[in-house]
């Protein structure tokens, strides 16, 4: 296996292509070089051949000239007449052309041939001179000696031969060189050519093989993940595009697996709840049937007695009727307790807080219980420290709670002592109550289940002591509703101590859980009633604002409410979208925290309902989800996005920024989703602006109808024409084309498009700023028809313009 360097696929491809192109160029270059060389050598060879031919011609010419001279000489000796002027002229011109012919000879640039050529020229010059003088002096009989001329001729011929043989030698040498060069360059060209092919093939092979392998792994991984193995991670072998894809895929499967786990968890929760419900029903049935058995049985007996008109035993009849009565009362108690429990579990148990003296109530209860305590020969004692403050909590529940505990204590204690100890923890601001008895106590295993519904120490307990087995369960739930805590310690045969901690000030009024849709009407009435007698520890005047939490999960809702309280907000709650929308309409909270994943109506639908309704569209909605839906959420009209699990610090910051009582105003940002938009959004949010975003004309209109902005920013990657169009719309400068385009976007309820747009335009008094990442050209700026200071430059390096504007407004 060939290990490749960690390169991206694109880089790999680029390198391959560059290598191939480079080799191809090299091949071309060598080819070019060799062909040039070849041409040069061929030229030289041609020259050599030409000059050889020239030497042959020259030799012929020389010999002819010599013959002519010799003939003339012979004629002169034979007394020949003088030469005519023409003949002399012809002879001279022949000589000239011969000279020209010789001078035309081109030697190779070898020292030898050049030397030989120069010698030849010199030799010929001598001969030429002889012959010239022969012609000139012929008629005057002043011809030079033919012997001398003969010698010069022989010399020239010799030199010509020498030159010729040297030229041939040089030409042979050239040919040899030429062959060598051609062979060499051919070899190089071929080598590079073959190398290029080999490289191309191997690079191609490696690329295909590597890509294939990575894709195969990815494919196998997706098949595996698709097959349900969500825990599987595809190994990331490559630091490239496929590696990125693999990482993205792994992240996706992680998210999927988390979501699945969540679903599984919810399912288990639901199953558990279902099981408890079934269990509860079975227990209920059992508990109802036992007293009913007595009621029906005794009634039937008495009826039989009367029917048969037996001798009636009045005493027996009274005893039996008393049993019927006590069973009936037991049933009533049972049903009341069950209703209480059901009320608590369904969230309909309302807490009405008021200020009361808890010690007073306990003393009152003690006098009520005194006869019962006396019956069991028990001593009832109250011990308390001096500084017990009054409680702000639900007094009715407090009374029921302690009545229950005291009657339990009396029930299970004989000839003993029941002590109530009340102290105050100033540090945690909790009142602490201990209810101790010296009764029968509980075993450790009984102790662990003491707060469960329908659990009594054992079934003989109810026979001996009565009770529904629901009392302590209700007590515990009451304490929790009152934001306190309840604990128990016990030793068998020695007694039991219940410890209850209650805050001196109960927090926001609680409604525990889901409220059925059919109770909506009742619910809203409830809320109105309770808000008039404000029951939260955060008072309306001190609070920073009122925040509605819409979340189906009671735990996360409670968590948010606690966070809100700590941040000094008044919390309102709704367990589903329908209820949330109703409360938003009636209570007009300052902010809404909306969970996206809810049964029946999900958060997206709720968001669109809230944003469409004229009475709620101005309320900023903060979305909450496990998944990052920020951009979609903002596009759909949400003001912010808060990822789950919620970070309290972050929530506080967002609330502070969005809270209408605190924030600077609403900013409308018209720009497509880009890094710069994100940057600008962050800047604005940091400056406590409530931000709305829009990416199109339709969205701009929608946002403005939702809430009139205090400042408008447009640009940052928005097409220039769209900017112009939107500016025209915002400035109320409408033409027919724009009108037609806009009519689709205007509320159908309004009378006419033009009116609607006119009112929209007049509604906008906010300054409009065109934001650009780079400086605009002058013609572009002019067409915007805005003062220069309303066209601002904004990018990650230069935020000064924006800051100036934000400081002004």
């Amino acid at each position: 296996m060939i290990s490749l360097p960690r390169l991206t696929l694109r880089l790999r491809l680029s390198i391959s292509i560059i290598a191939i192109v480079a080799l191809f160029t090299l091949t071309n270059l060598t080819y070019q070089l060799s062909s040039e060389n070849r041409n040069l050598r061929l030229d030289n060879l041609q020259n050599a051949v030409a000059s050889q031919l020239a030497t042959v011609t020259i030799r012929q010419l020389l010999e002819n000239q010599e013959k002519e001279i010799l003939v003339l000489d012979a004629l002169k000796d034979g007394g020949k007449e003088q030469l005519s002027k023409e003949e002399i002229q012809n002879g001279r011109s022949d000589l000239s052309s011969l000279q020209a012919e010789i001078r035309r000879l081109k030697p190779y640039v070898y020292a030898e041939t050049v030397d030989s050529y120069n010698t030849l020229l010199a030799g010929y010059d001598a001969l030429h001179d002889g012959w010239y003088r022969f012609y000139v002096g012929y008629n005057n009989n002043q011809t030079p000696s033919t012997i001398k001329i003969e010698r010069a001729f022989a010399n020239t011929m010799q030199l010509l031969s020498d030159f010729e043989s040297l030229e041939i030698l040089a030409a042979e040498q050239q040919t040899l060189d030429l062959q060598k060069t051609v062979r060499f360059t051919d070899r190089i060209t071929l080598t590079i050519y073959l190398f290029t092919i080999a490289l191309t093939v191997s690079l191609g092979y490696l690329l295909i093989r590597y890509t294939n392998r990575s894709l195969n792994e990815l494919n196998l991984g997706t098949v595996r993940i698709g097959g349900g193995d969500l825990k599987y991670h595809i190994p990331v072998n490559n630091d490239d595009e496929i590696g990125d894809l693999t990482i993205a895929f792994n992240e996706m499967s992680d998210k999927l697996s988390n979501a699945m786990a969540q679903v599984q968890q919810s399912k288990e929760k639901a199953d558990q709840a279902n099981r408890s419900k079934t269990n509860f029903l079975a227990n209920m049935s059992h508990e109802l049937r036992t007293p009913l058995n007595a009621i029906i049985g005794y009634s039937e007996m008495i009826i039989e007695d009367y029917r048969e008109e037996k001798a009636l035993d009045a005493e027996q009849a009274v005893e039996d009727l008393a049993r019927i009565l006590s069973s009936g009362r037991h049933l009533l108690q049972l049903i009341n307790d069950v209703l209480d429990l059901a009320k608590i579990e369904s969230g309909n148990m309302t807490v009405f807080n008021e200020t009361f003296d808890s010690v007073d109530i306990i003393e009152e209860l003690m006098s009520t219980m005194a006869p019962i305590a006396k019956k069991g020969d028990n001593l009832l004692v109250l011990e308390k420290s001096q500084d017990i403050p009054h409680l702000y909590n639900d007094a009715v529940k407090f009374r029921q709670l302690f009545l229950n505990l005291l009657s339990n204590a009396c029930k299970f204690t004989h000839n003993g002592k029941i002590t109530i100890l009340v102290t105050y923890n100033a540090k945690t601001r909790h009142a602490v109550y201990h209810v101790s008895d010296t009764g029968i106590g509980m075993t450790p295993s009984q102790l662990t289940r003491v707060f469960e519904a329908f659990v009594q120490a054992d079934s003989s307990t109810s026979k001996k002591y009565g009770g529904t087995g629901l009392g302590l369960s209700i007590c515990k739930q009451f304490v929790e509703l009152m934001d306190g805590s309840m604990d128990v310690t016990s030793a068998e045969g020695e007694g039991t101590t219940f410890t209850i901690l209650l805050p001196t000030r109960a927090p926001i009024q609680k409604r525990t859980d889901a409220i059925p849709a059919e109770n909506q009407q009742e619910l809203s009435l409830d809320l109105k009633a309770s808000s008039s007698s404000e029951t939260t520890s955060v008072s309306e005047e001190d609070a920073l604002g009122r925040v509605l939490v819409i979340d189906d999960d009671p735990e996360s809702r409670q968590l948010l409410l606690r966070h809100l309280e700590k941040e000094n907000y008044i919390g309102l709650e709704a367990s589903d979208a329908k209820q949330g929308i109703a409360i938003a309409n009636e209570q007009q909270p300052d902010l809404i925290l909306l969970d996206l994943m809810m049964p029946n109506i999900d958060g997206w639908t709720a968001l669109s309902v809230l944003k469409e309704s004229p009475s709620t569209r101005h309320i900023p909605v903060i979305l909450q989800s496990m998944l990052d839906e920020k951009n979609l959420g903002l596009d759909l009209g949400a003001a912010e996005f808060l990822p789950k699990p919620v970070d309290r610090q972050r929530m506080a910051t967002i609330l502070r920024h969005l809270n209408p009582q605190d924030r600077r105003g609403a900013a409308l940002l018209i720009a497509p989703e880009t890094e710069s938009r994100k940057l600008l959004l962050e800047e604005l949010t940091d400056e406590a602006w409530q931000c709305m975003v829009a990416t199109s004309m339709a969205q701009v209109i929608e946002r403005i109808q939702q809430k009139s902005p205090d400042i408008i920013f447009i640009g940052l990657g928005m097409p220039y024409d769209s900017v112009l169009e939107i500016l025209a719309m915002l400035n109320g400068k409408l033409n027919d084309g724009l009108n037609a385009k806009l009519s689709d976007n205007i509320d159908a309820s309004t009378d006419s498009t033009e009116d609607a747009l006119a009112s929209l335009a007049t509604a906008i008094t906010a300054p409009i700023y065109v934001v650009s990442e780079t400086p605009l050209g002058s013609s572009q700026s002019r067409r915007l028809d805005l003062p220069a200071d309303q066209i601002i430059l904004f990018n990650k390096d230069d935020k000064s313009n924006l800051e100036k504007i934000l400081n002004l407004s």
Partner: protein, 121 residues
Amino acid sequence: MTRILLVEDNEMNRDMLTRRLERKGFTIEAAGDGEEALKKIAASQPDLVLMDMNLPILNGWATCRELRANPATESLPIIALTAHAMAEDEQKARAAGCNDYTTKPIDFPLLLAKIDNLLTA
């Protein structure tokens, strides 16, 4: 005279059933828990047992299983009387060895028919 052992921990129900059955001519002996029931069965060998299932000390199901494991009482007729009224409760009672099953509140004529049925079988 048919002798019936009534095993019931609830005092009211025990009293009521005892008196009603006695009026119908049965001889009734009562027990408040499983252990007491086993003792009384061994001592007096009743013709039939009416057994509540939620009993202290030794519960009805365990008591039935012990009776069935003992050759002397393996065919002793037992009717379960229980406030557990789910379908699986009857299964559970029959699996423990009860011959019949009736739920509380007791339909007295039906109980008499069941007793009659088991005694004549």
